[in-house]
Amino acid sequence: MAELSFTQGTLDRARLLRLSQEYGVYAGVVVLLLFNFVFTANFASAENFRTQAVQVAPVLIVALGMALAIGTEGVDLSVGSVMALSTSLLSLYLGYGPWVATLIALVGGALIGVANGALVAFVGVQPIVATLALMVAARGLALVLLPQLKDVRDPGMAALGSGDVLGVPYLVLIAAALALLVAFAVRRTTFGRQLLAIGDSRPAARLAGLPVRRVLVVVYVCSGVLAAVAGVLATARLTASDPTSLGTLMELSAITAVVVGGTPLSGGRVRIGGTVAGAVLIQLLTTTLVKHDLPPSWTQIAQAVVIVGAVYAARERGKR
């Protein structure tokens, strides 16, 4: 943000556009925070920030995986259904204890990721079609395994959902750790470099001898596992497995967070910080409208305005 203070009135249009692309989402978060501090009763309390952070955690985790998929010029529509599958598996295997059940839920997510990745990388199906197929399949599988809502009484799961360390809920800690991990993977590892290169130009990456297929499969596996983690955390918070409604429209929330955060759909670039801010922005927007008791239809319209704004800001980026 330091750049802003050094620029005087001489900004030309291109520069302004670039700044709005880079920092628009952060500015949006700041504006919403300020608005709420002034106009919303009881907003500036630790308890409130805790709630907001807990509510945003599952969306954020899913959005991290989505950012990776979008970075390869793909998309993963199956994330919401993977959450449902993970909650079904968790409930079915909880008799073995929470750790085993969680592990199986994550394996389930990874398998859907393998299927996605295999369709995209080996069979050559378009990501949007491949993951759409798995979106339908995973939701169906989740409902076959667990046809209706089932309560989760395991004390370990309840602790995961509502416990905290020094006032920071586990959910938030896990989300933050995963965000850091993914950011590190994208920026500092060979895998991250390869991912971005593939997103930039798949033929070029192949010609350069990069393991294109392997990276793609790993990306979709990561996305599946992250969605499964989100499913486990959402289940812990709800203390119930609800495969019918858990994760519905989650893919859209995640894509929104990623796009608003400044990651281009054309691939080759992943902004994890922006994705986090994007998820927080959407959460704050919803909260603001709920707290002021505005009609729910307004929330949808407001989200649409934010998405259009973000895409407008990103419009020039496509023309490199």
């Binding site: 709630t51 909880l94 209706q148 089932k150 392997r214 858990l246």
Partner: protein, 366 residues
Amino acid sequence: MKPIAPLRRTRARTLIATGLVTSLALLTACTKSEDSDAGKGGSSARASDPGQVVASPSGGSGPTCTIGAYGGGKLDLKSATVGFSQSEKEANPFRIAETASIKAEAAKRGVKLLTANAQSQFSKQISDVQDLIAKGADLLVVAPLNSDGWEPVLRTAAAKHIPIVTVDRKINATACKDYVSFIGSDFVRQGERAADSMIEATGGKGEIAILLGAAGNNVTTERTKGFEDRIKQKAPGLKVVFRQTGDFAREKGQSVTENLIQSKPGIKGIYAENDEMGLGAVNALKGAGKKPGDVKIVTIDGTRNAVRGIVDGWISGVIESNPRFGPLAFQTLDAFTRGEPVSEDIVIQDSAYTKANAAADVDKAY
């Protein structure tokens, strides 16, 4: 994140396919879920209990319908085939209990029953009903997903003089011409009774919130209307300061309530338009460190979990919406096919659960 070695193409495919198949087999092989108490599973056993009671006895006021007026000839229900078209998949307690009740009653009466489930897709329900007719259903029981758009089905049914009884939702058509009768709850009345329960729990003073159902659904509109009108009329001291949708889902009810109790800490009561959202609200209150009874919750439906919530002290009242349509639907069809007049609008009597009867009646809940 296990790295997959650069295998040759075909081998990788085979490996992945084998892996998926093996894991699927594993998935189904050795599940072991938490021990659930009698709650689930026993639904079929419970479905045989008395079922619904009519609020306004048929033959009293209101228009009636006879087979002569409707067209078609008498037949014996025992030798007839009945088709049942369910609207939503049996994933929530209401739909499970509804279908189970129809099936149980058909089995009890020895009637041949054909069933179909539209999985919440209206176009599927239309073709479902047409299929049922084509398969030889003499009588139809339909739980409509929508009120409109039934003309094609009604035309086919009318041509074959097939009597139709709709349950739990109405269709926009003429009773006794397009269909025989409607059996269902009065949602406005449910809202009013929830308001009465809320007034009693809060003492008629303070600020309250409403967790609305899914937008654009007649159940939501009518339960809201009944509640708000009754509050305005009987307890002007109660102010509705918050109306947000929880989409009839527990998770949404929880996250909306979390925001509610932070922005309006003085809230006295929450009216949830179904049990699931009410249970989400309970979760939110627990998370915020509230004690049972700090905020009065009134819900509608009467599922077992909600009734148990009353026993635990978190929920103040549950207005029942009775899903056990079987006995009444078949009774109506039986009377109709024997040539007796049946009421066009059969409103059922819903009971209610309060602190006084929750512990004793928890087994009656579905």
